[in-house]
Symmetry: C2
Subunit: 387 residues, 2 copies
Amino acid sequence: MRASAPSQEEIRRQNLGALLRFVHERGQISRAELTTELGLNRSTIGALTADLTEAGLVTEETGRETGRAGRPSLVVRARSETIFAYAVSVEVDQIRVARVGLGGVLLDQRSAPRAREGNDVISPAAAFITELTGPGRCVGAGIAVAGMVRRADGVVQLSPHSGGLAGQAIGESLRERLPGILPQVAVGNVADLCALAEHTRGVAAGCDNVIYVYGDVGVGAGIIAGGRRVIGHGGYGGEVGHMVVNPAGRACSCGSKGCWETEIGELPLLELAGSTDIGHAAVLAVVERAARGDAKAIAALRHVGEWLGFGVANLVNIFNPELIIFGGTLRDVYLAAAAQVRSRLNSVGLAATREHVRLRTPALGQDAALLGAAELAFQSLLNDPLA
Amino acid sequence: MRASAPSQEEIRRQNLGALLRFVHERGQISRAELTTELGLNRSTIGALTADLTEAGLVTEETGRETGRAGRPSLVVRARSETIFAYAVSVEVDQIRVARVGLGGVLLDQRSAPRAREGNDVISPAAAFITELTGPGRCVGAGIAVAGMVRRADGVVQLSPHSGGLAGQAIGESLRERLPGILPQVAVGNVADLCALAEHTRGVAAGCDNVIYVYGDVGVGAGIIAGGRRVIGHGGYGGEVGHMVVNPAGRACSCGSKGCWETEIGELPLLELAGSTDIGHAAVLAVVERAARGDAKAIAALRHVGEWLGFGVANLVNIFNPELIIFGGTLRDVYLAAAAQVRSRLNSVGLAATREHVRLRTPALGQDAALLGAAELAFQSLLNDPLA
């Protein structure tokens, strides 16, 4: 049921939020463009911008000469240096922390290796945040984890790759570890946050129906349908790695059999390629061996590429997206086996749904998880800039 | 990117729409409840109701005594008898047409058998509409089809079960066949429209994450995520019948192999049960035979029930819904094989996602497709009641 129309005060808040969101997503935007994009008159845009300037969120300066008659329009810029969030990415093999300015600017970052299944992520995250401290106002932090995150309270659920994080309210723990530093800490699934980042300022900008398939040991997806993130009832939407694609296949760490990640995850690829190493570097080594003509590496990538295309076809039939993005190790698998992926998509996908779907790699690369985590932290500021 | 806040005129339109939507979804609602639900003051509610009354869309009357002090609140009712839409359901074996009043009231309906793959649905639909004509104002018509419908123009796409409808703009054809009768005709997929109807006034009312799995010969789903219908880029979202669940399985009419509908559709059930009939009645006969202890019918229902649970588990992992509804022939299969469905869901679904999901049959039964098609027709009135 749709809510009723907003009050005057809510309208002002909405307009301030909409304007700040444009500035945040574009980095900088002229008053003239804002007038067009927001459909508000010049004096309203001027008043809103003045409010945001006074709050220290944006600056205005004279734009470049446009060659047209009249004064050049003022350009509104996000104050990225002084309005910032911390972004934490807890990955299978490493932990990364960044300070990200309003406008999605990566100001500085740190990383450290992490033992698989290691459970203390709070101490290294807190140490890096202390190290990265800068002048200005921190709006909070966002944490990306390769696990299922309960929407209600950010607690990581017991899931195949949550390791020692299961049951932990890592957001709340981080906030408590650094008293007075972090107004709020939000936690999200890494695939969801990569999708959010690419949708906000990457390859999926302007696309309303997008699936970001993220893989390392596990596989998950960030899904955007009709311009909105598919979160699910409890917050666990997008666990496509546990879509069973091969009932006759291998046992999965989730207890089921033939899950998609048992065919396209890092481990089956490395095993098929005869690699004894693990991790993203080992996957890249397989891709390199294949490029040099190593038959076993080529066969492994083809096998994984076919199953990648197979599962993507299922998702294309279910969602009818316009764009599929391959992230994590799947970026490299896709690039090395694009022909197999497309061929399987063509044989399994329905004509009407597969015809217009574009397959792409991320525009933000490794930064997507950090930028997505920062987006999560910026949401409350963007919803109500002067709160 | 979020649009800017609305103007005064848009606010009034939004409020009128929100109020009429409440009346439409509830059938009748007191002014006091509207004040609470919409968060508007009593005089605004009074003014909006007066506008809608004057436009002939609602009536007001004194409600029953509440036992509390003061005057009883006025009750606002939809004028279901005089504000109506036509709803057409093109099914595999029959075509149904109904006149549906504002508030979702089935005023009258007709049906006729249809030859499978028969391509002229316009003539019988137009004939029934003419027969069903009543006094008042027709807002348009909605058509539910068991096929893929292009969002941009309502053209039915070539798909496994679209039969002779492929390539036809059936909405436009129907509108032209009855000049001056139908202001607009919208077309949608039957599973999508059943989901819409159950979400508006059925078993899924108030649920934000719902999957309605509809089956007859083909299988499709209407999906609601975060309170919104998952439509897809071209309008083809929800083709879950062509999610491949059994790569070693049978050839599917779509050209692929092992699609979900090759395991749970009407045809494999009837074949396994040794039935030589087709259609919903034949499925019911199998269920009846199983209830009487027929071993072949029992085995067929168990087999289909297991694959039904298997595919549902995939969807539960992907969407994390709170509710799954089984419609069409799958209603009867589910009721006869609920244990198999739940058991497979438990073995394939992730703990966090499967734990809270409820499995249900439709509250609106066979009426869902008609009520959903009518919802489609009512949308423009609800978006802008005084246009």
